[in-house]
Symmetry: C2
Subunit: 124 residues, 2 copies
Amino acid sequence: MDTMGRHVISELWGCDFDKLNDMEFIEKTFVDAALKSGAEIREVAFHKFAPQGVSGVVIISESHLTIHSFPEHGYASIDVYTCGHLDPTIAADYIAEALGAQTRETIELPRGMGPIEIKQAKAL
Amino acid sequence: MDTMGRHVISELWGCDFDKLNDMEFIEKTFVDAALKSGAEIREVAFHKFAPQGVSGVVIISESHLTIHSFPEHGYASIDVYTCGHLDPTIAADYIAEALGAQTRETIELPRGMGPIEIKQAKAL
């Protein structure tokens, strides 16, 4: 399998408190995001923190999607890393919209290609 | 909980084929790496691919550690992301040594602080 991958890192701010604190909603959102991007899901593991916050991962054949949510700050830290021909921005965009992010900063890193360089940075 | 975190991204090359293909070894290495860095483990999920390769995650209270290994290329793609006062380089260094990486490129990104900027890049 080719080592080349694309790793999208998104900082989502101004998200909806209740969504960021709803583990079932987040898990479903991440599974849907993976499927929409054409990924094959292998493992799903999410954890709810007290008093608030959710962390979780969807491991796909093509790498992974992760989230750490901080409802009290309206903040979610998102990673979508895909190998092969998948486009990680499809899942990242879907997740940002689902969580109601008001502002979003995204960078994309190449993985498995040698030197790590930021490919693009954008603030939405 | 504070949103600030440190995300270490390591590209490990020249790793040992057998170690990169040994899911039990990798899982134990990642659990040990998390514990050595002082993290609290919440979820552990690893997957073995056919004919080779391992993907997995350790979700910690302070964020996550992930790996995607490509034994046939001697390559492992590592992320160690910690919030709070943990030092992600402790786990990243431990993992690189355990997998027998001959060369290693690492960058560190701040998370949850606003703009994403590469804090440091080093090739070992």
